[in-house]
């Protein structure tokens, strides 16, 4: 079974995420991810980005593109064999939903 190079490069991905979180803090609280197939059965990396309430509610238009571009600058997605997807949530929303994948 084919697995994308991203699966064996998770340390590199973790380091890249750390850089983005540092660069965009305090708006970006944390970034989690999962490597899996998307709806069209292509390999993808699904980023789950938790933002501060202020960033999510008032400045999503400003902050979200910075996160997307930041990750694209740090990671070579074609080389990793995955397509990136990004979903955002605020700290309060995650506190309400308590989803382990976002914690």
């Amino acid at each position: 079974m084919f697995t994308p190079p991203a699966v064996s490069k998770q340390e590199e991905i973790d380091a890249a995420i750390e850089n983005v979180v540092c660069a965009l803090g305090p708006d970006v609280v944390r970034i989690r991810y999962e490597i899996a197939e998307d709806w069209s059965r292509q390999w993808a990396i699904f980023f789950r980005i938790v933002l501060t309430d202020d960033a999510a509610r008032r400045r999503l238009r400003e902050v979200a593109p910075k996160v997307v571009w930041g990750l694209a600058q740090e990671l070579d997605f074609p080389g990793l064999g995955v397509y990136p997807y990004h979903n955002f949530r605020s700290v309060s929303e995650q506190a309400m939903l308590q989803e382990p994948a976002w914690a």
């Binding site: 998307d38 709806w39 069209s40 993808a44 933002l51 999510a56 509610r57 999503l60 238009r61 979200a64 593109p65 997307v68 074609p78 397509y83 997807y85 990004h86 979903n87 955002f88 949530r89 605020s90 929303e93 309400m96 939903l97 989803e99």
Partner: protein, 152 residues
Amino acid sequence: MGLADELLEDAHGLAEKGIADNRQSLMRRAISTAYYAMFHLFVEDFIEHWEFEDQRARLGRMFNHAEMRTGYKTKEKNNPTPLENELIDVITGFAQLQNDRQRADYDLGWGLVETDVRDSMRLAENVFVKWRSIRDEHIARHHLLSMFGASR
């Protein structure tokens, strides 16, 4: 106003009501409608250049959702031009919203929150604005052909 713009307006209405009422069904419809607004933006743009008006609807039905998510390779790998960056933003927004639409329509395990909906509206608006600013450029016209399914 074309269908794409009407759908985008509808998506905003659904989003606002869905958020205000905290109603999952409306939030899901908002994301799905935002995607279809964007889908029709590209289809309308493509078929309006077809000379034979009576064939345009038929031509539009040939668009395939999966094939429309096609990538773009910049001329210089690590140094895209500003125009290429605009096109990449359009492509990225399209793919993201397409995936979110699939989840909104079929993934009952997705507990949507306000930020999901607002981000989808942001993406759709962004695609509309950026596409309309570059649609007449050479790389955009070629990309639209690729979305239609024509290989390079």
